[in-house]
Amino acid sequence: MATDAAVAADPPASKGCPAMKAEFAKHAEYLNALNDKRERLVKASRDITMNSKKVIFQVHRISKVNKEEVLSKAENDLAAVVNQNIGKLVKELQGTDFWKLRRAYTFGVQEYVEAATLCRFCRTGTLLSLVEINDSLLALSDKSVEPLQLNVLDYVLGVADLSGELMRLAIGRISDGEVEYAKKICAFVRDIYRELTLVVPLMDDNSEMKKKMEVMLQSVVKIENACFNVHVRGSEYIPLLGSSADPDYSFFGASDFDQ
């Protein structure tokens, strides 16, 4: 009968033996340390998110006249984000933590990628690559500490968010009269969308990314519609808005019919 073995071997478990207690104390310690680390990472990630968003808002203030000063302030702020906030991540993440605790810091990293790529686009019109970002992060850690290297998934998620910001930028530029700039943004976002449609199906756990792709398509369509509207209706007004220093307001109120 099944009972014999159980009764015969004097079950240590029922006496709450010290070995078991010590074992579970170790497990408790391990879990506490893990949760504390996770908390610290979440805090650091929130700081990164907040400061990256500030950089993005700074970049949105760009216009014809203040491009250089806005961009240089944004780039300085971005460098501060890297040194102070991302530095905290580097200290915490070692060994298997990069993947184990990814959920804790991924949002901060995505926001940072968004801010960094936006700054680079405004500066040069190109997409900041993952390799460049990782090279810049190598400087943060010394020999003893494993460097923080962003993985493909976080980078792609950040670039997906970038399209929303670029849409905002494009609409802003159109209302300022910089239609050419908006068209460049349009072409750029189209390229990104095209590239990402091939990458998304291959990503691990891509439900989040699929939602972002839908939003990205809406952003692309918005930019295209805005450019189209300016194009079709705006060719009479373009001389009035933006291209001359003194806009001539005398045509406002003039009715829109063929004479």
């Binding site: 006249v65 298997t96 997409l127 691990d204 060719s235 009479e236």
Partner: protein, 237 residues
């Protein structure tokens, strides 16, 4: 108008150039708005074709970014991403194949152990289960081999074997209790699965969750043993 416009692409391109610069130049009088607007409508499909060729045609203020480089750099980057992600999803398929075998072996073992609720000799019950444990041990060795190809990414794919591992630990712990009446420790569990060394180990949280699942078995055992009047058995738990 429209078909004519489309047909006259080549000749109209030059016209587009002239009209575009005219449209963008300063202070066009209202009467002349007629022509550029009609022409704009006419040439809309053409302008889309023309615009890549006319980056500097309009009066461009200084705040624009420099002309965008063609995108081979971007293409190359995303190409490499596709290659990486392709590799990783192939790896994931292999992991899933091994894990589904683990799951079926573990189910057979658990079913064998369920015989303990009936009056069957313990050795028989344990014998079948032990055979399955050997199979599972071999499968975990395979899994460790697969993961050797991507060092440091244990937790990237961890979700794929988490649930099955917890079921396996629960089964092992129950079996251990039936044999010895003691609690299976983490190190012993690792030993049984052959995961004591190397990077691929038994995650502590999986082990603890497995123990929680094991406790469900006791409730059933208690009721059954009451039926067979084996009160000592119940009290020992």
């Amino acid at each position: 108008m429209r078909p004519a416009a489309v047909a006259a692409t080549a000749t109209a391109t030059a016209a587009a150039l002239r009209l575009r610069t005219a449209g963008a130049s300063l202070s066009a009088p209202p009467a002349a708005l007629l022509t550029p607007r009609r022409a704009a409508l006419l040439l809309l499909p053409l302008r889309r074709l023309c615009s890549p060729a006319l980056p500097h045609a309009s009066a461009a203020p200084d705040s624009q970014p420099p002309p965008r480089l063609p995108s081979p750099i971007m293409d190359a980057q995303f190409e490499s991403f596709r290659a990486q992600l392709d590799e990783s999803s192939t790896l994931r398929d292999r992991i899933r194949a091994v894990v589904s075998e683990v799951e079926s072996a573990s189910r057979v073992a658990t079913a064998a152990l369920l015989l303990v609720h009936q009056p069957v000799p313990l050795e028989d019950v344990l014998g079948k289960a032990k055979a399955q444990v050997e199979v599972i041990k071999g499968l975990y060795a395979q899994l460790a081999e697969v993961l050797k190809e991507c060092p440091g990414q244990y937790y990237r794919y961890h979700g794929d074997w988490k649930a099955e591992t917890q079921a396996v630990v629960s089964m092992l712990a129950f079996m251990h209790w039936l044999e010895t009446g003691g609690l299976l420790m983490h190190a012993e569990a690792q030993e049984k699965l052959g995961l004591s060394s190397g990077e691929f180990s038994l995650d502590v949280e999986d082990y603890l969750t497995g123990l929680c699942f094991m406790s469900n078995e006791f409730v059933r055992s208690s009721t059954h043993q009451t039926k067979y009047s084996s009160y000592d058995f119940i009290l020992c738990k």
